[in-house]
Protein backbone atom coordinates (compact mmCIF):
# COMPACT_ATOMS: atom_id res chain seq x y z
CA UNK A 1 0.00 0.00 0.00
CA UNK A 2 1.47 3.30 -1.05
CA UNK A 3 1.08 5.96 1.59
CA UNK A 4 0.83 8.80 -0.87
CA UNK A 5 -2.26 8.00 -2.90
CA UNK A 6 -4.71 10.86 -3.17
CA UNK A 7 -7.13 8.98 -0.88
CA UNK A 8 -4.53 8.72 1.86
CA UNK A 9 -3.75 12.39 1.43
CA UNK A 10 -7.44 13.21 1.69
CA UNK A 11 -7.51 11.55 5.11
CA UNK A 12 -4.38 13.31 6.35
CA UNK A 13 -4.91 16.85 5.07
CA UNK A 14 -7.75 19.29 5.66
CA UNK A 15 -10.55 18.99 3.15
CA UNK A 16 -10.61 21.62 0.42
CA UNK A 17 -13.94 21.16 -1.29
CA UNK A 18 -15.77 22.11 -4.44
CA UNK A 19 -19.53 21.82 -4.03
CA UNK A 20 -21.58 21.16 -7.14
CA UNK A 21 -25.32 21.13 -6.54
CA UNK A 22 -27.17 21.56 -3.25
CA UNK A 23 -25.87 24.78 -1.74
CA UNK A 24 -26.73 23.66 1.81
CA UNK A 25 -23.83 21.24 1.68
CA UNK A 26 -21.41 24.08 0.93
CA UNK A 27 -22.85 26.13 3.79
CA UNK A 28 -22.58 23.21 6.21
CA UNK A 29 -18.93 22.77 5.24
CA UNK A 30 -18.33 26.48 5.66
CA UNK A 31 -19.95 26.36 9.11
CA UNK A 32 -17.36 23.72 10.03
CA UNK A 33 -14.53 25.93 8.84
CA UNK A 34 -13.86 23.89 5.70
CA UNK A 35 -12.61 25.76 2.62
CA UNK A 36 -15.20 25.36 -0.08
CA UNK A 37 -16.03 26.92 -3.43
CA UNK A 38 -19.65 26.58 -4.44
CA UNK A 39 -20.42 25.98 -8.10
CA UNK A 40 -23.71 27.59 -9.07
CA UNK A 41 -24.82 24.68 -11.17
CA UNK A 42 -27.63 24.77 -13.64
CA UNK A 43 -28.79 21.95 -15.83
CA UNK A 44 -27.78 21.98 -19.50
CA UNK A 45 -29.86 24.47 -21.48
CA UNK A 46 -31.37 25.60 -18.19
CA UNK A 47 -33.51 22.47 -18.28
CA UNK A 48 -35.38 23.67 -21.40
CA UNK A 49 -36.74 20.43 -22.87
CA UNK A 50 -37.02 21.70 -26.44
CA UNK A 51 -33.44 22.98 -26.44
CA UNK A 52 -32.17 19.79 -24.82
CA UNK A 53 -33.81 17.73 -27.54
CA UNK A 54 -32.09 19.82 -30.20
CA UNK A 55 -28.73 19.72 -28.42
CA UNK A 56 -29.02 15.97 -28.15
CA UNK A 57 -28.90 15.85 -31.94
CA UNK A 58 -26.38 18.60 -32.52
CA UNK A 59 -23.85 18.59 -29.67
Amino acid sequence: MEKDTPINELLQKPIVAINIGVQDFAEALQDQGVRVVNVTWSPPAGGDAEMLAILEKLL
Binding site: P44, A45, G46, D48, I54, L55, K57, L58, L59
Partner: protein, 417 residues
Protein backbone atom coordinates in the same frame (compact mmCIF):
# COMPACT_ATOMS: atom_id res chain seq x y z
CA UNK B 1 -20.15 5.55 -44.31
CA UNK B 2 -22.18 8.61 -43.52
CA UNK B 3 -20.78 11.51 -41.58
CA UNK B 4 -22.94 12.38 -38.59
CA UNK B 5 -24.42 15.82 -38.27
CA UNK B 6 -22.34 16.39 -35.15
CA UNK B 7 -19.18 15.67 -37.09
CA UNK B 8 -20.30 17.97 -39.88
CA UNK B 9 -20.90 20.74 -37.36
CA UNK B 10 -17.53 20.21 -35.71
CA UNK B 11 -15.79 20.35 -39.09
CA UNK B 12 -17.75 23.42 -40.18
CA UNK B 13 -17.00 25.20 -36.91
CA UNK B 14 -13.32 24.37 -37.19
CA UNK B 15 -13.43 25.94 -40.64
CA UNK B 16 -15.17 29.07 -39.31
CA UNK B 17 -12.68 29.28 -36.45
CA UNK B 18 -9.75 28.94 -38.85
CA UNK B 19 -11.14 31.58 -41.19
CA UNK B 20 -11.60 34.09 -38.37
CA UNK B 21 -8.05 33.44 -37.20
CA UNK B 22 -6.59 33.56 -40.71
CA UNK B 23 -7.80 37.11 -41.34
CA UNK B 24 -5.07 39.55 -42.43
CA UNK B 25 -6.78 42.93 -42.16
CA UNK B 26 -5.13 45.81 -43.99
CA UNK B 27 -6.34 49.40 -44.02
CA UNK B 28 -6.35 50.19 -47.74
CA UNK B 29 -8.22 53.47 -47.94
CA UNK B 30 -10.52 55.99 -46.31
CA UNK B 31 -13.12 57.22 -48.76
CA UNK B 32 -16.72 58.44 -48.81
CA UNK B 33 -18.99 55.49 -48.17
CA UNK B 34 -20.94 56.11 -51.38
CA UNK B 35 -17.81 55.29 -53.40
CA UNK B 36 -17.24 51.87 -51.87
CA UNK B 37 -20.04 50.48 -49.72
CA UNK B 38 -22.09 48.12 -51.89
CA UNK B 39 -25.78 48.97 -52.16
CA UNK B 40 -25.53 52.26 -50.31
CA UNK B 41 -27.96 54.46 -52.19
CA UNK B 42 -28.60 58.17 -52.15
CA UNK B 43 -30.96 59.25 -49.40
CA UNK B 44 -30.21 56.11 -47.46
CA UNK B 45 -28.92 55.91 -43.89
CA UNK B 46 -27.24 52.72 -42.75
CA UNK B 47 -27.53 52.01 -39.03
CA UNK B 48 -26.26 49.67 -36.35
CA UNK B 49 -27.99 46.48 -35.35
CA UNK B 50 -30.63 44.37 -37.02
CA UNK B 51 -32.97 46.17 -39.45
CA UNK B 52 -35.52 48.51 -37.89
CA UNK B 53 -37.93 51.05 -39.36
CA UNK B 54 -38.08 54.71 -38.41
CA UNK B 55 -41.15 54.36 -36.24
CA UNK B 56 -39.65 51.60 -34.11
CA UNK B 57 -36.15 53.04 -33.91
CA UNK B 58 -34.69 53.88 -30.50
CA UNK B 59 -34.47 57.54 -29.49
CA UNK B 60 -30.69 57.78 -29.75
CA UNK B 61 -30.62 56.09 -33.15
CA UNK B 62 -33.38 58.40 -34.39
CA UNK B 63 -31.33 61.36 -33.22
CA UNK B 64 -28.28 60.08 -35.07
CA UNK B 65 -30.26 59.43 -38.28
CA UNK B 66 -31.69 62.97 -38.17
CA UNK B 67 -28.16 64.28 -37.70
CA UNK B 68 -27.05 62.40 -40.83
CA UNK B 69 -29.89 63.93 -42.83
CA UNK B 70 -28.63 67.34 -41.71
CA UNK B 71 -25.01 66.36 -42.43
CA UNK B 72 -25.96 65.35 -45.97
CA UNK B 73 -27.95 68.56 -46.45
CA UNK B 74 -31.26 66.73 -46.91
CA UNK B 75 -32.68 68.77 -44.04
CA UNK B 76 -31.77 72.01 -42.28
CA UNK B 77 -32.98 71.02 -38.87
CA UNK B 78 -33.72 67.88 -36.96
CA UNK B 79 -37.38 68.76 -37.14
CA UNK B 80 -37.26 68.85 -40.91
CA UNK B 81 -35.25 65.65 -40.94
CA UNK B 82 -37.87 64.01 -38.76
CA UNK B 83 -40.59 64.98 -41.23
CA UNK B 84 -38.67 63.43 -44.15
CA UNK B 85 -38.25 60.27 -42.15
CA UNK B 86 -41.89 60.26 -41.08
CA UNK B 87 -42.87 60.43 -44.75
CA UNK B 88 -40.53 57.58 -45.60
CA UNK B 89 -38.39 59.74 -47.87
CA UNK B 90 -35.16 58.46 -46.40
CA UNK B 91 -34.34 54.77 -46.68
CA UNK B 92 -32.92 52.88 -43.74
CA UNK B 93 -30.96 49.68 -43.72
CA UNK B 94 -28.72 47.65 -41.46
CA UNK B 95 -24.95 48.19 -41.83
CA UNK B 96 -24.44 44.45 -41.72
CA UNK B 97 -26.32 44.06 -45.00
CA UNK B 98 -23.53 46.08 -46.64
CA UNK B 99 -20.36 44.59 -45.06
CA UNK B 100 -20.31 47.68 -42.86
CA UNK B 101 -20.35 48.37 -39.15
CA UNK B 102 -20.75 51.49 -37.08
CA UNK B 103 -20.35 52.31 -33.40
CA UNK B 104 -23.46 52.99 -31.28
CA UNK B 105 -26.18 54.36 -33.64
CA UNK B 106 -23.67 53.45 -36.32
CA UNK B 107 -25.07 55.73 -38.99
CA UNK B 108 -23.39 55.83 -42.41
CA UNK B 109 -24.41 57.87 -45.46
CA UNK B 110 -22.83 58.30 -48.89
CA UNK B 111 -20.60 61.27 -48.21
CA UNK B 112 -19.34 60.12 -44.83
CA UNK B 113 -15.83 58.73 -45.28
CA UNK B 114 -15.33 55.16 -44.00
CA UNK B 115 -12.29 53.07 -43.22
CA UNK B 116 -11.84 50.45 -45.92
CA UNK B 117 -10.26 47.32 -44.47
CA UNK B 118 -9.33 44.49 -46.78
CA UNK B 119 -8.92 40.97 -45.48
CA UNK B 120 -5.92 39.97 -47.62
CA UNK B 121 -6.39 36.27 -46.91
CA UNK B 122 -9.82 36.12 -48.44
CA UNK B 123 -9.99 39.35 -50.44
CA UNK B 124 -13.19 40.58 -48.79
CA UNK B 125 -13.57 44.14 -47.59
CA UNK B 126 -15.31 45.63 -44.57
CA UNK B 127 -16.20 49.21 -43.77
CA UNK B 128 -16.54 51.24 -40.61
CA UNK B 129 -17.20 54.87 -39.90
CA UNK B 130 -15.31 57.12 -37.50
CA UNK B 131 -15.87 56.92 -33.76
CA UNK B 132 -16.80 60.08 -31.85
CA UNK B 133 -18.77 60.82 -28.73
CA UNK B 134 -21.70 62.92 -29.88
CA UNK B 135 -23.48 62.28 -33.18
CA UNK B 136 -23.24 58.50 -32.93
CA UNK B 137 -25.00 58.75 -29.57
CA UNK B 138 -27.92 60.64 -31.08
CA UNK B 139 -26.69 64.21 -30.66
CA UNK B 140 -27.87 66.30 -33.65
CA UNK B 141 -26.48 69.63 -32.49
CA UNK B 142 -24.37 71.77 -34.85
CA UNK B 143 -21.30 70.98 -32.74
CA UNK B 144 -21.91 67.29 -33.13
CA UNK B 145 -22.33 67.56 -36.89
CA UNK B 146 -19.30 69.87 -37.15
CA UNK B 147 -17.05 66.98 -36.12
CA UNK B 148 -18.38 64.93 -39.03
CA UNK B 149 -17.54 67.81 -41.38
CA UNK B 150 -14.01 67.94 -40.04
CA UNK B 151 -13.74 64.21 -40.61
CA UNK B 152 -15.10 64.49 -44.14
CA UNK B 153 -13.13 67.56 -45.19
CA UNK B 154 -9.80 67.39 -43.34
CA UNK B 155 -9.02 64.30 -41.27
CA UNK B 156 -10.25 61.51 -43.52
CA UNK B 157 -8.66 62.93 -46.70
CA UNK B 158 -5.35 63.51 -44.90
CA UNK B 159 -5.34 59.98 -43.49
CA UNK B 160 -6.33 58.58 -46.85
CA UNK B 161 -3.34 60.24 -48.51
CA UNK B 162 -1.07 58.70 -45.90
CA UNK B 163 -2.62 55.24 -46.28
CA UNK B 164 -2.31 55.33 -50.05
CA UNK B 165 1.23 56.62 -49.78
CA UNK B 166 2.29 53.55 -47.83
CA UNK B 167 0.07 51.33 -49.98
CA UNK B 168 -1.98 50.12 -47.09
CA UNK B 169 -1.33 49.63 -43.40
CA UNK B 170 -1.34 46.10 -41.96
CA UNK B 171 -3.50 46.16 -38.83
CA UNK B 172 -2.93 42.69 -37.40
CA UNK B 173 0.48 43.63 -35.93
CA UNK B 174 -0.99 46.76 -34.34
CA UNK B 175 -3.79 44.72 -32.77
CA UNK B 176 -1.44 42.02 -31.50
CA UNK B 177 0.80 44.63 -29.91
CA UNK B 178 -2.09 46.58 -28.43
CA UNK B 179 -3.54 43.45 -26.82
CA UNK B 180 -0.27 43.08 -24.98
CA UNK B 181 -0.37 46.72 -23.93
CA UNK B 182 -3.63 46.54 -22.03
CA UNK B 183 -6.16 47.09 -24.81
CA UNK B 184 -9.25 45.01 -25.36
CA UNK B 185 -10.03 46.95 -28.57
CA UNK B 186 -13.56 47.90 -27.68
CA UNK B 187 -13.88 50.22 -24.71
CA UNK B 188 -10.12 50.34 -24.41
CA UNK B 189 -8.29 50.80 -27.71
CA UNK B 190 -5.90 53.47 -26.36
CA UNK B 191 -2.65 51.71 -27.15
CA UNK B 192 -3.80 50.77 -30.64
CA UNK B 193 -4.89 54.39 -31.20
CA UNK B 194 -1.45 55.64 -30.21
CA UNK B 195 0.35 53.09 -32.37
CA UNK B 196 -1.92 53.92 -35.29
CA UNK B 197 -1.38 57.68 -34.89
CA UNK B 198 2.37 57.07 -34.81
CA UNK B 199 2.22 54.88 -37.88
CA UNK B 200 0.27 57.49 -39.85
CA UNK B 201 2.36 60.58 -39.10
CA UNK B 202 5.30 60.05 -41.42
CA UNK B 203 3.27 58.69 -44.36
CA UNK B 204 0.97 61.71 -44.19
CA UNK B 205 4.01 63.98 -44.39
CA UNK B 206 5.46 61.81 -47.12
CA UNK B 207 2.21 62.09 -49.04
CA UNK B 208 2.46 65.86 -48.91
CA UNK B 209 -0.54 66.62 -46.71
CA UNK B 210 -0.68 70.37 -46.21
CA UNK B 211 0.51 71.84 -42.93
CA UNK B 212 -2.90 72.96 -41.66
CA UNK B 213 -4.65 69.67 -42.38
CA UNK B 214 -1.65 67.75 -41.08
CA UNK B 215 -1.64 69.64 -37.80
CA UNK B 216 -5.38 69.32 -37.42
CA UNK B 217 -5.31 65.61 -38.23
CA UNK B 218 -2.40 64.87 -35.89
CA UNK B 219 -4.18 66.76 -33.13
CA UNK B 220 -7.33 64.79 -33.83
CA UNK B 221 -5.52 61.46 -33.71
CA UNK B 222 -3.35 62.10 -30.70
CA UNK B 223 -6.26 63.45 -28.66
CA UNK B 224 -8.64 60.63 -29.45
CA UNK B 225 -8.29 57.53 -27.28
CA UNK B 226 -11.10 55.70 -29.07
CA UNK B 227 -9.70 56.48 -32.54
CA UNK B 228 -8.81 52.86 -33.27
CA UNK B 229 -12.23 51.44 -32.37
CA UNK B 230 -13.43 52.26 -35.89
CA UNK B 231 -10.54 50.20 -37.22
CA UNK B 232 -10.82 47.32 -34.77
CA UNK B 233 -14.50 47.06 -35.71
CA UNK B 234 -13.67 47.02 -39.42
CA UNK B 235 -10.98 44.38 -38.80
CA UNK B 236 -13.41 42.26 -36.79
CA UNK B 237 -16.06 42.60 -39.47
CA UNK B 238 -13.61 41.60 -42.23
CA UNK B 239 -12.68 38.51 -40.21
CA UNK B 240 -16.26 37.58 -39.27
CA UNK B 241 -17.54 38.05 -42.84
CA UNK B 242 -14.95 35.58 -44.07
CA UNK B 243 -16.56 33.00 -41.78
CA UNK B 244 -20.10 33.60 -43.07
CA UNK B 245 -22.09 31.07 -45.02
CA UNK B 246 -20.31 27.88 -44.00
CA UNK B 247 -22.88 25.09 -44.23
CA UNK B 248 -23.41 23.35 -40.88
CA UNK B 249 -21.48 25.94 -38.87
CA UNK B 250 -23.04 27.05 -35.59
CA UNK B 251 -20.51 29.85 -35.11
CA UNK B 252 -21.82 33.37 -34.54
CA UNK B 253 -20.70 35.79 -37.27
CA UNK B 254 -22.34 38.96 -35.99
CA UNK B 255 -23.76 40.41 -32.79
CA UNK B 256 -25.34 43.82 -33.24
CA UNK B 257 -27.85 46.02 -31.46
CA UNK B 258 -30.04 48.91 -32.52
CA UNK B 259 -31.18 50.17 -29.13
CA UNK B 260 -34.41 48.19 -29.43
CA UNK B 261 -33.28 44.74 -30.46
CA UNK B 262 -30.20 42.63 -30.02
CA UNK B 263 -29.52 40.50 -33.09
CA UNK B 264 -27.12 37.72 -33.94
CA UNK B 265 -26.20 36.03 -37.19
CA UNK B 266 -24.88 32.50 -37.57
CA UNK B 267 -22.48 31.19 -40.20
CA UNK B 268 -24.59 28.25 -41.34
CA UNK B 269 -27.75 30.37 -41.46
CA UNK B 270 -26.35 33.10 -43.66
CA UNK B 271 -28.24 36.34 -43.79
CA UNK B 272 -30.79 35.56 -41.09
CA UNK B 273 -31.18 37.64 -37.96
CA UNK B 274 -32.17 36.16 -34.62
CA UNK B 275 -33.35 38.94 -32.39
CA UNK B 276 -34.58 39.63 -28.88
CA UNK B 277 -35.29 42.84 -27.00
CA UNK B 278 -32.04 44.72 -26.36
CA UNK B 279 -30.91 44.38 -22.74
CA UNK B 280 -30.21 47.17 -20.29
CA UNK B 281 -26.57 48.02 -19.76
CA UNK B 282 -25.14 47.62 -16.28
CA UNK B 283 -23.00 50.68 -16.25
CA UNK B 284 -21.26 53.74 -14.89
CA UNK B 285 -22.43 57.21 -15.80
CA UNK B 286 -20.72 60.39 -16.92
CA UNK B 287 -21.37 63.62 -15.02
CA UNK B 288 -24.91 64.85 -15.44
CA UNK B 289 -26.43 61.46 -16.18
CA UNK B 290 -27.68 58.57 -14.09
CA UNK B 291 -29.90 55.53 -13.91
CA UNK B 292 -33.10 56.17 -15.81
CA UNK B 293 -31.43 58.17 -18.56
CA UNK B 294 -29.96 55.27 -20.45
CA UNK B 295 -31.35 53.75 -23.61
CA UNK B 296 -31.05 50.04 -24.21
CA UNK B 297 -27.98 48.33 -25.61
CA UNK B 298 -26.92 49.73 -28.99
CA UNK B 299 -24.20 49.46 -31.63
CA UNK B 300 -22.36 47.21 -34.04
CA UNK B 301 -19.27 47.32 -31.84
CA UNK B 302 -20.11 43.87 -30.46
CA UNK B 303 -18.48 42.67 -33.68
CA UNK B 304 -15.27 42.93 -31.62
CA UNK B 305 -16.62 40.40 -29.11
CA UNK B 306 -17.78 38.27 -32.04
CA UNK B 307 -14.12 37.66 -32.90
CA UNK B 308 -12.98 37.38 -29.29
CA UNK B 309 -12.01 40.88 -28.21
CA UNK B 310 -13.73 43.45 -25.99
CA UNK B 311 -15.62 41.91 -23.08
CA UNK B 312 -14.06 38.53 -23.85
CA UNK B 313 -10.63 39.79 -22.83
CA UNK B 314 -11.40 42.26 -20.07
CA UNK B 315 -8.71 40.49 -18.07
CA UNK B 316 -6.20 41.93 -20.51
CA UNK B 317 -7.31 45.50 -19.98
CA UNK B 318 -6.45 46.30 -16.36
CA UNK B 319 -7.38 49.96 -16.56
CA UNK B 320 -11.05 49.24 -17.21
CA UNK B 321 -11.41 46.48 -14.63
CA UNK B 322 -13.68 48.87 -12.81
CA UNK B 323 -16.37 48.05 -15.30
CA UNK B 324 -16.60 44.62 -13.73
CA UNK B 325 -16.16 45.44 -10.06
CA UNK B 326 -12.50 46.12 -9.87
CA UNK B 327 -10.43 43.00 -9.37
CA UNK B 328 -8.30 41.18 -11.92
CA UNK B 329 -9.68 37.87 -10.63
CA UNK B 330 -13.17 38.85 -11.66
CA UNK B 331 -12.09 39.93 -15.10
CA UNK B 332 -10.17 36.69 -15.48
CA UNK B 333 -13.27 34.76 -14.51
CA UNK B 334 -15.19 36.40 -17.36
CA UNK B 335 -12.46 35.60 -19.85
CA UNK B 336 -12.31 31.98 -18.73
CA UNK B 337 -16.06 31.75 -18.89
CA UNK B 338 -15.99 32.78 -22.55
CA UNK B 339 -13.78 29.80 -23.34
CA UNK B 340 -16.69 27.59 -22.39
CA UNK B 341 -18.77 28.86 -25.30
CA UNK B 342 -16.19 29.21 -28.04
CA UNK B 343 -14.52 26.90 -30.54
CA UNK B 344 -10.94 27.60 -29.52
CA UNK B 345 -8.21 30.06 -28.68
CA UNK B 346 -6.59 32.49 -31.11
CA UNK B 347 -3.04 31.53 -32.06
CA UNK B 348 -2.08 35.16 -32.71
CA UNK B 349 -3.89 37.42 -30.31
CA UNK B 350 -2.40 36.62 -26.90
CA UNK B 351 -3.25 38.03 -23.51
CA UNK B 352 -0.47 38.47 -20.94
CA UNK B 353 -2.92 38.38 -18.02
CA UNK B 354 -4.07 34.95 -19.18
CA UNK B 355 -0.53 33.63 -19.24
CA UNK B 356 -0.22 34.62 -22.91
CA UNK B 357 -3.01 32.32 -23.89
CA UNK B 358 -5.04 33.32 -26.91
CA UNK B 359 -8.38 35.10 -26.96
CA UNK B 360 -11.49 32.89 -27.04
CA UNK B 361 -12.71 32.76 -30.66
CA UNK B 362 -15.79 31.45 -32.41
CA UNK B 363 -18.95 31.68 -30.30
CA UNK B 364 -20.86 28.42 -30.74
CA UNK B 365 -24.63 28.85 -30.31
CA UNK B 366 -24.90 25.22 -29.13
CA UNK B 367 -22.50 25.85 -26.28
CA UNK B 368 -24.20 29.10 -25.30
CA UNK B 369 -27.55 27.33 -25.04
CA UNK B 370 -26.13 24.32 -23.26
CA UNK B 371 -24.06 26.14 -20.66
CA UNK B 372 -26.33 29.13 -20.18
CA UNK B 373 -23.20 31.30 -20.42
CA UNK B 374 -23.96 34.39 -22.48
CA UNK B 375 -21.36 36.40 -24.39
CA UNK B 376 -20.18 39.35 -22.32
CA UNK B 377 -19.91 42.67 -24.11
CA UNK B 378 -18.49 45.93 -22.90
CA UNK B 379 -20.06 48.97 -24.35
CA UNK B 380 -20.78 52.66 -24.17
CA UNK B 381 -24.20 53.94 -23.21
CA UNK B 382 -26.45 56.34 -25.13
CA UNK B 383 -29.42 58.30 -23.81
CA UNK B 384 -32.92 56.94 -24.23
CA UNK B 385 -33.96 60.16 -25.97
CA UNK B 386 -32.55 61.84 -29.10
CA UNK B 387 -30.18 64.76 -28.78
CA UNK B 388 -27.57 63.63 -26.23
CA UNK B 389 -23.87 62.73 -26.37
CA UNK B 390 -22.31 59.70 -24.65
CA UNK B 391 -23.66 59.20 -21.10
CA UNK B 392 -21.62 56.29 -19.74
CA UNK B 393 -20.09 52.87 -20.21
CA UNK B 394 -20.80 49.42 -18.92
CA UNK B 395 -21.27 45.73 -19.48
CA UNK B 396 -24.04 43.75 -21.04
CA UNK B 397 -24.80 40.12 -21.83
CA UNK B 398 -26.32 39.00 -25.09
CA UNK B 399 -29.91 37.78 -24.56
CA UNK B 400 -30.43 33.98 -24.52
CA UNK B 401 -33.53 34.24 -26.68
CA UNK B 402 -31.40 35.06 -29.76
CA UNK B 403 -29.47 31.84 -29.30
CA UNK B 404 -32.59 29.76 -28.71
CA UNK B 405 -34.11 31.09 -31.93
CA UNK B 406 -30.94 30.48 -33.88
CA UNK B 407 -30.60 26.94 -32.58
CA UNK B 408 -34.23 26.23 -33.42
CA UNK B 409 -33.74 27.49 -36.99
CA UNK B 410 -30.49 25.60 -37.29
CA UNK B 411 -32.16 22.35 -36.24
CA UNK B 412 -35.05 22.98 -38.63
CA UNK B 413 -32.65 23.44 -41.50
CA UNK B 414 -29.98 20.84 -40.81
CA UNK B 415 -31.27 18.26 -38.36
CA UNK B 416 -33.89 16.86 -40.69
CA UNK B 417 -32.53 13.35 -41.20
Amino acid sequence: MTISIKEKIEAANAEAFNRINAAEPVLVDIVPAGDVVPGLEDRMVLHAGPPVDWKHMSGAQQGAVMAMAMFEGWADSHGQAGQLLDRGEIKLDSNHHHHAVGPMAGTITRSLPVYVVENRTFGNRAYCRLVEDRQQFGDYSQDAIAELYNWRDAWAPALALGVRHMEGLALKPIIAKALQMGDELHNRPNAASAIFAGAMAAPMIGAGVGKDDLTSTLNYMTGHDLLFLGLSMACAKSAADAACGIEYSTVVTAMARNGKEFGIQVSGLDGQWFTAPAPEVDGLYLPGYGEGDAGLDMGDSAITETVGWGGFILAGAPSILNLVGGTPEEALAYSREMREITVGLSPDYLIPALGFQGTAVGIDIRKVVQTGILPIIDTAMAHKDPGHPIIGAGLVRAPMECFHQALRSFAARYATE
